[in-house]
Structures are given as structure tokens and as C-alpha cells.
């Protein structure tokens, strides 16, 4: 079992086994344990060598992601990140770890908002870009961050240091993903049955399955799901 705590208010536990059995063993249902955000993935990595550290989620300085998918552009992205001269960009036992680091790079190093993250990992194609409100800026972003473009089927769920949560899909929306809940409690899940297990009493008609252009965001106040479409104008860091 591996237990990490790289951040003042974050604990990360990685172990192989039946998730319920492990949770029971660790007593995760104890009342004194409190968390604003729980990220859980019950799956061993399938790509590249099997390694405990390759289990999701991944965390870097308050930014965390976990992914359902395979990132086929992993090697060029890893090469790009490791050559940025940023000591924290390391590890990479999993092809999914780069999602967390790209998030950090986009928001911290480039000063983008969460609406810009999707433009980094899955930029718009030429015809959509040409009619975008921020066409000029986005063309520059697409070119300069070309090495960070992901590929393959991916649904990324992540958190930000302000405790926002988000979900984005790959360019072709090849993976399932759903966001739903009620004010005060929201769930992000690969499958609807996961959401049903955690928040059965939500209004299911308001569940959202983000599509290929969407970033679904739940802010720190946990009041609603906002959808940011990639074709909409951006909050620019300029």
C-alpha cells in the first residue's frame, strides 16, 4: 500500500485489491474522516508496465486528475513536459499522469482558466478555429502547445486548488462520463450506475453527459453544473 500526502489537505492512497474490501480495511467510513472532495478509481493501469504508482488519481500542487482512457500521444507529451525545466514534472509510470501535469502547466505556467484546458489538450480544428471569437489567440495556443495535444479515447475528471471539479472528453467523445447531483453534493462518474450509488436522490433529468466540445464544471460553492463549450469565447489571460 502506498500513502502519499504531498499537500497540506490531501491524502492519496494507492493499493491493489477489491475497492470495498480496502475501504473497509482502512475504515474510510469513519465519521471523523471528512473530505470535501473524494476521488476514487478502482482499476489497475492497463497501458505500459503495471505499477502501483500508475494507479489514478494523479496530483500536482493542488491540481489532480483521473482518467478513463488511453493516451496514445503519451511519449511526445512526456518528452515535452520533462523538458520544461520544472522539477515536479516527473514520474510518468502512467500515460494518464500527463493530464494532471498539462492541467498544472496550462493554468499555472500559462495562466489560462479551466476553459482553456480543453483548448490545450484537444484544440479545435481549422474550420471551427477560424470562426471562433478568440481565433488569433487560440491559433497561437494550438501551435505552441502542439506537443500537449492528447489523442485516443479519454474522459478526464479533475479538481483545482479552489476545489472546483471538472470533466472533459476527448475530441471524439469515445468514453462515457456523467455529472449530476444536487446543490451541495455533486458526483462525476464514468457510468450512471456510479452516480446512482452515491447520489440516488438527485434529479436525474438534470444529469449531464459532456460531449466532445464541453467542459463540465462544478464550482467551489457546489450549486450547479456549468457547461463551457469550446466554441464559446474564452477568459483570456492577456
Amino acid at each position: 500500500m502506498m500513502v502519499f500526502s504531498f499537500w497540506p489537505d490531501t491524502i492519496m492512497i494507492k493499493e491493489i485489491g477489491d475497492p470495498l474490501l480496502l475501504a473497509g480495511y482502512l475504515g474510510l467510513d469513519r465519521k471523523e474522516l471528512k473530505a470535501r472532495i473524494i476521488m476514487a478509481q478502482g482499476r489497475q493501469n492497463t497501458n505500459y508496465a503495471i505499477d502501483l504508482y500508475a494507479c489514478h488519481p494523479f496530483f500536482i500542487k493542488g491540481y489532480s486528475t483521473m482518467t478513463n482512457g488511453e493516451n496514445t500521444a503519451f511519449i511526445p507529451i512526456r518528452d515535452f513536459l520533462t523538458s520544461r525545466g520544472i522539477a515536479a514534472y516527473t514520474g510518468y509510470q502512467s500515460d494518464s499522469e500527463v493530464f494532471a501535469h498539462i492541467l498544472h502547466y496550462s493554468l499555472v505556467e500559462l495562466g489560462l482558466g479551466i476553459d482553456g484546458y480543453k483548448h490545450v489538450i484537444t484544440p479545435l480544428q481549422e474550420r471551427d478555429l477560424a470562426v471562433h471569437h478568440n481565433a488569433g489567440f487560440l491559433s497561437h495556443l494550438k501551435r505552441t502547445c502542439r506537443s500537449l495535444i492528447i489523442d485516443g479515447p479519454n474522459c478526464v475528471i479533475g479538481t483545482l486548488p479552489d476545489h472546483s471539479l471538472f470533466m472533459v472528453q476527448d475530441r471524439k467523445k469515445l468514453r462515457p462520463g456523467v455529472v449530476g447531483g444536487k446543490p451541495g453534493l455533486y458526483g462525476f462518474s464514468s457510468e450512471i450506475c456510479g452516480l446512482d450509488a452515491v447520489i440516488p436522490d438527485r434529479d436525474k433529468s438534470r444529469d449531464i453527459q459532456p460531449m466532445h466540445l464541453d467542459t463540465a464544471i462544478v464550482g467551489p460553492d457546489r450549486q450547479e453544473v456549468t457547461i463551457c463549450r469550446q466554441t464559446e469565447a474564452l477568459n483570456l489571460p492577456l
Binding site: E70, I75, F80, R84, H140, S147
Partner: protein
């Protein structure tokens, strides 16, 4: 010759020639088309005398000797007229009566192609069939971990960038400060490499230009073509089609007087400027257009007298150091177009390529680096340069790309690979392999001539007479009787066929690897090869 006469050292028999013309007297109609079409006059009408003995056991009168005469084809055996294996005779023969065959034994003629002390010069290629690129396999196929993409149905973005891309942070800073951001072109990753107007016939050049224009304007494929060193026809310089053209400047500066004077009249900027410092087929040697091909038109475009050989010096005469003069040349060319046009050098692959690249990384005006490997083609060069000088492209590209990773500039200076891509017909596989080794795109020359115009050259020293203007297909000739054989419209149509089929094949390679959103530059984890040493050298997987 007679058996009692002395022999000249260079007296050759048919058995010594690299190509032997096989001829069937039974089928020949004596139409003479083969002798008329032969570019080197290797065959001529032969009048053969045949004596036949007619023994008989009967009357004396029935016995005798008959003297018959028959007509056929005689192959010449002198070096100047040795068959080049182009098989134009076969192409024109109405009765399939004639064809050249490669001599399976040692071609002794090789020892004699230096009459009057002039070593062999030719056009073409290295004539080595082996290719490491053909041996690279794509082994990382996504199936269950990742639903395979559909090459025919899904959306693909097979584009590359030509130009200096700044680091994301630096680019962001300059956007904020409204600083100068280097020009970048988004282009198709398969580029028609530099083949000059002069090396190619007018019909071939026109056909290529038309094909490229069609691909851009009708097919939505941003294909670019480099002029090579020979200037550019004045009407093209002043047309909107210039944006599809990469203008090349090399050490002879041929045609640049015309280009510079046309700048104020240009409706569009050219795609880019390529400064040629070296060529893979003959590294360390300059360009060469032999006098046979310098007619009035070529001379006018290049700004030289007609009928003289045009050798470009091995190096630019103004060049004395890479830090100073190469940087200055890149800067001057950038300045000529108001810093709106990418400018990049092309060098031959060499163990010194890394030094060039390292230098360019420190020069913001350098937009990329084109590296041409030993398997590159040429219109004219000494055989010794073509066969023995140069560096394979695969390891050179890999070394350069890995070096860029080391300094974190892999997205900033695109490397373009050239030389022998598709030499055995596997264009898309070779191109994809080089892209995954780190190239941002590839340049092709010979392949275009073969596929779009029917060049008969192969890796078996076939034809290779591009240098003397007698190209039997009219591709590299300046003789109207020859280049009229080539219809520019047909060439354009084949150029389009080539690119569209390449695009499908490229997708058929990248889709199973799970790639579609961006060109898989440097995706080396997809590659494997059945050779330990090669795998180690290229930092890819060894697979058996």
C-alpha cells in the same frame, strides 16, 4: 573484332555491359521504333549474314552452302552507347520483340566509364535497394485498451507546422507585449522537395504546379512544393499561387535577380524560403546543371548565358562561419519579406548536422531545418559522390530530434526529412516512420517523378541519364521533342492521385495506433525493428 587482332583495354563484349538487349527475330517487324526511341542510341539496325550448310547423301547438286541475310537489332558495346536499361524499346515495340535485361554477373563496364579521365557522372540515386525505413514496423496497435479509429470515418488532422514556434510561455509573453512572433505555416506533412526548373522539363514543372494548386484549392490539402535552385517563372512569382511555393536559394543564386525584382509585385508571400547548403545525394558538392539542358528559356530564368554548364559552388561564397554568415543570410531573407516568411536551411545529413541544429536553436529567425539523407536524388552528380558520400536519414533525424528534446525545443524547430523516402514504393510507411522518429514532415523528389510522371529509374542503376537532358520520358529534358511526350495535365492528375492515396495510407497507419488529433511527431513507442543494433541506435523497440 577478329581473333588475331590486338585488343583495346576498354573493348567490351555484350557480356560486360550492365544491361543486355534481348531481341526476338521471330517477332520483329523491322519498324525501327526501338532504334528511334533509344535515348543513348544503344541499338541500331543490324544486317546479319548467316551461312547455312546443306549436306545431302544424294546428288552432288543437292549439297551446298547457302548465304542468307537477315535483319535485326545490334547492340553497341562501347561505353558511350551502352544500354541504360530504360526499356523505352519495349514500350514502343508493337510486337513485344525486345527488352533489356540486367546483367546478372559483374558489370565490367564500371571499370571503363572514365574515358578521357572523366569519372562517371549521372543523375538519379545511390542505387542501393536496402532501406532501414522499410524494416521499421508499427507495433503499438490499440485494440481493446483503446477502440481503434476508423481511417475512413473519423476526423483526422494530418497537418504540420513549418516555421519557428516559440515556447508557450514566450509566445504568451509576446502576445501580451505585442512583440514579433515568427511566421508559421500550417502545411501538409508531405512536401515536394526542391527540383529546379531546368533540372525538370517545363511540362513536368507545370504539371507539378497544377497538381499542387488543385490539391490546395479543390481538395483542401495544403501541399507545398519547393522550387529547387533555378529561379521561378516570372508569371508564377506574380500570381496568387506563389503561396504554395517554397523558393529555394542556393550557392549559385540562380534566378534570384528575377525573384528580388519581383518582390514589389508579389500578390502573395511565398510559403517559405529554403536556403540550400547541402544535398543528401552529393553532400559537400554544389548543384550542377550541365550545358545540355541550359537552353534559352532556362538561361533567361536563371539570368545566365545559354549553353554553358551551371555548377553551383559547394558552399555559399559569403559563408565563413555558421554563427555569423548563416545567421546573416537567414536574417536577410527574412527581412526581404518583412519577417512574414519562414526561412530555413536545408543541409545534407551528416555527423555534423547536430552542430547546425544546435546553432539554429539559438537563432529566432531560423524557421526549421531540412535534412537530406544519402538516398536523396539528384539531377547530376559524380557517381562517387552519390554512391559513397552521405549519412543515412533515419539515425540523423533521430539524433537531432532527441537533441531537441534534451534542450526542450522539440516543438520549436521543425525538422524535415528527405532522401530515399518511398524508394521502394513504401511512401506512407517510410514517411510515418520518420515522423514518429521525430521529423515534422518529409520531402520527396524521385518518388514524385516515378509516380506522377513515370520516371523509369530504379535502385538498379536503370536509366539515370537525367544529367544530359535525354530523359526518355521527358521529365528532365529541355528538348521539346522529348518533353512533349509528357502532358502537364496528366502529371497534375497523377500528383493529385499520389497525395490523396498517401493521405489514406497515412490514416491507415495512424488510426490503429490511436492517433488522429495531431500528427504523431516523435511517437517512438509505436515503432519496432527486427535488428538489435538498429533498435538501440534509434531508441525504438527490438521486436522479433
Amino acid at each position: 573484332m577478329s581473333s588475331n587482332r590486338s585488343l583495346e583495354p576498354s573493348a567490351l563484349s555484350l557480356n560486360d555491359l550492365p544491361w543486355q538487349v534481348k531481341f526476338s527475330n521471330d517477332r520483329c517487324t523491322l519498324c525501327g521504333q526501338c532504334t528511334a526511341v533509344c535515348p543513348v542510341k544503344a541499338i541500331e539496325l543490324g544486317v546479319f549474314r548467316k551461312r547455312t550448310l546443306k549436306p545431302s547423301i544424294r546428288r552432288q547438286a543437292d549439297q551446298g552452302v547457302a548465304q542468307d541475310v537477315f535483319y535485326g537489332i545490334r547492340q553497341k558495346t562501347d561505353v558511350a552507347h551502352a544500354c541504360i536499361g530504360c526499356a523505352m524499346c519495349t514500350l514502343v515495340c508493337p510486337n513485344d520483340a525486345i527488352h533489356p535485361e540486367k546483367n546478372p554477373g559483374l558489370d565490367r563496364m564500371k571499370f571503363h566509364i572514365n574515358q578521357q579521365g572523366v569519372p562517371r557522372r549521372r543523375g538519379g540515386r545511390r542505387n542501393a535497394a536496402g532501406s532501414i525505413l522499410d524494416r521499421i514496423k508499427f507495433t503499438r496497435i490499440s485494440m481493446l485498451t483503446d477502440p481503434a479509429l476508423d481511417a475512413g470515418r473519423h476526423e483526422f488532422e494530418m497537418r504540420t507546422l513549418l516555421g519557428r514556434v516559440l515556447s508557450p510561455r514566450e509566445n504568451m509573453k509576446r502576445l501580451k507585449e505585442k512583440g514579433w512572433i515568427p511566421p508559421v505555416r500550417e502545411i501538409y506533412p508531405l512536401i515536394i522537395g526542391g527540383m529546379s526548373f531546368g533540372a525538370l522539363s517545363p511540362t513536368m514543372w507545370e504539371g507539378l504546379q497544377m497538381g499542387v494548386a488543385y490539391l490546395n484549392e479543390e481538395m483542401g490539402m495544403p501541399v507545398r512544393m519547393c522550387t529547387g535552385e533555378g529561379g521561378c517563372p516570372p508569371r508564377l512569382l506574380r500570381s496568387r499561387f506563389l503561396k504554395y511555393v517554397i523558393l529555394q536559394i542556393a550557392s549559385g543564386y540562380f534566378g534570384w535577380d528575377e525573384i528580388i525584382h519581383a518582390i514589389p509585385h508579389m500578390k502573395e508571400d511565398p510559403c517559405a524560403i529554403e536556403i540550400k547548403y547541402g544535398q543528401g545525394a552529393k553532400p559537400g558538392d554544389g548543384g550542377l546543371l550541365m550545358w545540355h539542358k541550359v537552353n534559352k528559356l532556362i538561361a533567361a530564368i536563371r539570368g545566365v548565358p545559354a549553353g554553358v554548364s551551371l555548377p553551383s559552388p559547394p558552399t555559399h561564397q559569403t559563408q565563413y562561419s555558421i554563427e555569423e554568415s548563416v545567421a546573416k543570410m537567414i536574417l536577410s531573407m527574412s527581412m526581404a519579406w518583412g519577417f512574414r516568411v519562414p526561412v530555413y536551411p536545408k543541409i545534407s545529413a551528416s555527423s555534423t548536422s547536430l552542430a547546425v541544429l544546435n546553432n539554429l536553436t539559438r537563432n529566432d529567425y531560423a524557421s526549421g531545418l531540412a535534412i537530406d539523407g544519402e538516398d536523396g536524388g539528384t539531377g547530376a552528380a559524380y557517381t562517387v559522390s552519390m554512391d559513397h558520400m552521405g549519412h543515412p536519414i533515419a539515425s540523423c533525424i533521430r539524433d537531432n530530434y532527441l537533441n531537441l528534446i534534451k534542450i526542450g525545443k522539440q516543438n520549436e524547430i521543425p525538422i524535415f526529412a528527405g532522401g530515399g523516402i518511398g524508394k521502394n514504393g513504401n511512401l506512407a510507411a517510410n514517411a510515418a516512420a520518420l515522423i514518429m522518429l521525430g521529423a515534422s514532415g518529409v520531402q520527396i523528389g524521385k518518388y514524385v517523378m516515378q509516380a506522377a510522371a513515370g520516371c523509369v529509374g530504379t535502385e538498379e542503376d536503370r536509366c539515370n541519364v537525367c544529367n544530359v537532358g535525354i530523359c526518355p520520358k521527358g521529365i528532365t529534358s529541355q528538348d521539346p521533342r522529348l518533353y512533349r511526350r509528357l502532358d502537364p495535365e496528366d502529371v497534375a492528375e497523377r500528383v493529385v492521385d499520389l497525395f490523396v492515396s498517401f493521405d489514406t495510407e497515412l490514416k491507415k497507419i495512424v488510426a490503429p495506433l490511436g492517433r488522429s488529433t495531431s500528427l504523431p511527431i516523435g511517437m517512438s513507442d509505436a515503432l519496432g525493428i527486427d535488428d538489435v543494433a538498429a533498435a538501440q541506435r534509434l531508441s525504438i523497440k527490438y521486436v522479433v
